[in-house]
Amino acid sequence: MSDERPGGGDPAEAPRACHGRAPDVFVPGGWVPMREHGEDEPVDFAIVGTGAGGGTLACKLAEAGFSVVAFDAGAYWRPLEDFASDEMEQQKLYWTDDRLCDGELPLKLGANNSGKAVGGSTVHFAMVSLRFRPDWFKSRSRLGYGADWPIDWREMWRYYAEVERALQISGPVTYPWGPKRPRYPRRPHELNAAAQVLAAGAEALGIGWSSTPLATLSSPHGKAPPCVYRGFCVTGCSTNAKQSVLNTWLPRALAAGAEIRDLAMVGRVETDRRGLATGVHYCREGRWRFQRALNVVVAGYAIETPRLLLNSASGLFPDGLANSSGLVGRNLMVQLNQAVWGRMDREVRSYKGPPSLALTEHWNYTDEGKDFHGGYCYMSQGPLPIVWARTLSGRGLWGEALMREMADYNHSVGLKMVGECLPDERNRVTLADETDRYGLRIPRITYGFGDNEKRMIRHALDFMGRALEAAGARGVWEQDDDTCHLNGTARMGEDPATSVVNADCRSWDVPNLWICDGSVFPTVGGVNPSLTIQAVACRTGDRIAALARRGEL
């Protein structure tokens, strides 16, 4: 690009949100005005991260009248002009900075568990927008495993509705599982062939299925057109039909006076001798800066959040911020993402449309016939070619054998689970001795499955395999090595000794430090976490406003 004006260069190299304006995500080359804040002037809230947690909270706080500056290490993209139908190019949306992964199951990080962009991983998420089963908010006392949330499900039900309205979720007219919920703002999308296979399999096995509630429009909304079923959803939607944080909460946040700083990597939360946060150190345009703030919100997701807290250790907090419980970085929970695949005689072309148009939550809401705790859902799949080639090569296929399998791409069909992992303190994020290009210690991620996860995987693979065969697939095989999502390294709770934050996402140790992302989850449930993260953020925004009114900030 040859644009001479500020913000006109490569958005991955030079910040766009500066000089009083931010990119207009709905107009190629467009801008919207942005309020700016001085660095020496303490803002009400400095928010680290603009994804499902931080971006949503930035909007809520700005609309409540607080001054807000939100930082993101990633670029500020305009989907209409910056996104290509190309899996390799779109890897620019993933967080691929150096990390060390070890343990029994070294995690694969990138595509389906992290994002590095303004809007966070919602820019490339699969848009699956599911509510928790109400019992999961009290899974310890009601179901006998995991930990209880300090929030009542009925309150969460209201915040789920708020998020579903904000994202104009397209969902079934009536949802088959769980207590009554308001009608989804938009109608469901048409099923693609892969989803019809899921439906046929579920009907053959006598369980319920549904079109998936998705954060992509089925009819026009504002400046966003309805989905065109292009199918590149998980590499970034180039039409704005996807309702990501980038094109929903953040335009609202900007309109309400929030400032967003892109390509701004926060490396440390500063605290004073009283034990209060005073602002954040961040690196932008090759220079370390300091933004003063009355409150700091950490919303970097379940790896970067504990990393930042641990990297912010001080004399007063030698083990890292908010870590008197010793739980910062512990109880990391991924979700099980195992799959079965097979071949249909007819063409399926599963990559058409959003990848997960149908699902079943049967095993989330049914407790009989399980030899494990927790639940899982499974969804139809639509892997893009490179992901599919990689999946096939995971079976040991290479060269001509891989080519032959790839030639069957249009006939391939699969079912993939999102399964609940139990919290385990041995699964954790710590700091490695190596440092990254900012000079910050990189995270070490240690992970392994317990027996419960292994039993759930066996159950799910058996059941999904039967469903796929019942739908007419042949040569069914199992992919047992994938995981997705990250949660739970700064859990919320009612007791400072066993949790990092309280129900309001407020740190027990540092009263003006808040954590608002998937890391506060005590348990993850068997559904994709983004809707719950945003609902928690909405609740946090309302609680902060209420506390401020009472003078309790």
Binding site: Q196, A200, S218, S219, D345, G472
Partner: protein, 356 residues
């Protein structure tokens, strides 16, 4: 009237056959699919052309039109005027069906050869109706009768086809399948065009005395037929605008004004008189106008899809159907024709009474 979109081709290809679990059926290579589309379009155009040619060949010659077999006046008399009005309403409804089914069945790649049928039937209906609207003779025409009967049968068969398409999908008769399966209400439009035309023939070809259809008084039958057609169209509009989540408040217009108008029209059956008829005429004119306005709104809706009108080749298929709303106009014209016929029957009835 057919506002629902047929399923994407790729989805169609894997729709499970009746019985639920899909069995493996080899898919035709892409080339065959393209050929089918082309053949379908050619057959559709050919059918329309053939029907138009037939209409031309059978057109009433000026001498025959002026001929007075049984002493009818040159303008054919009031019943012929009403019949010709109904012919015109049937022509407009047929045009709406032709354009809509052409677009939607093209979108469905004419994957079933029977999908050509509504193009042929509506094309023939248009031809027959134009023929009828030029024909001042006070008698039915075999070609027109046959065409209208075929259109009515097409409506029945099409409804069965569409119902079958919806119910054999996973989930059966569900919201999802009503939204995205073949639109159940759509084939009724061609059937309705056939019925209107059939009634037109009966009106102009009655025994002496008040015109009747199947032994019932024609004005009342046509009033009910028009109102029922409007209400059926409202039902389909309501379903498909619900699918669009009524995202634009204007989407409520066709589910409020036409049903009210149909009620006003039906009310004249119980509370007849100049006042109620004036109100009904006004209501029908409003409905007719709304049908035309609807196409404008739908054009705006096309613009709201990705790429707008610059991407018309996709968005005319994906967006709201442009030819659908004028079916309200056609049915309102039929309602107006029914009202006019009632006026005339009442007038001639009085004359006859005076004469005796």
């Amino acid at each position: 009237m057919t506002m629902a979109l047929l399923p994407l081709t790729a989805l169609d290809a894997v729709r499970p056959p009746p019985g639920g679990v899909p069995a493996g059926v080899a898919r035709d290579p892409l080339g065959a699919g393209r050929r089918r589309v082309r053949n379908g379009l050619l057959a559709g155009l050919g059918g329309v052309a053939a029907a138009a040619a037939l209409a031309w060949v059978l057109r009433p010659g000026p001498s025959r039109a002026a001929g007075t077999d049984d002493g009818a006046p040159d303008d054919g008399g009031s019943t012929v005027r009403a019949g010709r009005r109904l012919n015109r309403a049937a022509a407009l409804l047929g045009a709406s069906v032709l354009a809509d089914s052409a677009v939607e069945h093209y979108r469905g790649s004419f994957h079933n050869p029977a999908m050509i049928t509504p193009l042929l039937a509506s094309g023939a209906t248009i031809a027959a109706s134009l023929h009828g609207s030029l024909d001042r003779r006070p008698r039915a025409h075999r070609f027109r009768d046959a065409t209208y009967a075929a259109a009515a049968l097409t409506g029945i068969a099409g409804t069965a086809f569409h119902l079958c398409n919806v119910t054999r999908r996973p989930g059966g008769l569900s919201w999802l399948n009503l939204f995205y399966g073949a639109p159940i209400g759509a084939p009724a439009a061609i059937g309705l065009a056939g019925l209107l035309g059939f009634a037109a023939e009966r009106v102009r070809h009655g025994p002496d005395g008040p015109p009747s259809v199947a032994g019932l008084p024609a004005p009342q039958v046509l009033t009910v037929l028009s109102a029922a057609g409007i209400l059926g169209t409202v039902a389909e509009t309501a379903l498909l605008h619900f699918r669009g989540a009524y995202h634009n408040p204007a989407m409520y217009l066709p589910v409020t004004i036409p049903p009210a108008a149909a009620a006003v029209l039906l009310r004249t059956l119980w509370h007849d008189g100049p006042g109620p008829r004036r109100a009904a005429r006004l209501a029908m004119r409003a409905t007719a106008g709304l049908g035309l306005l609807g196409t404008g709104f739908h054009a705006f809706g096309v613009h709201r899809n990705m790429g707008g009108w610059g991407n018309w080749r996709q968005n005319i298929l994906n967006g709201p159907p442009l030819p659908a709303p004028p079916s309200y106009t056609a049915l309102a014209f039929a309602g107006l024709a029914a009202l006019a016929l009632r006026d005339e029957v009442a007038g001639s009835g009085r004359e006859q009474g005076d004469g005796r």
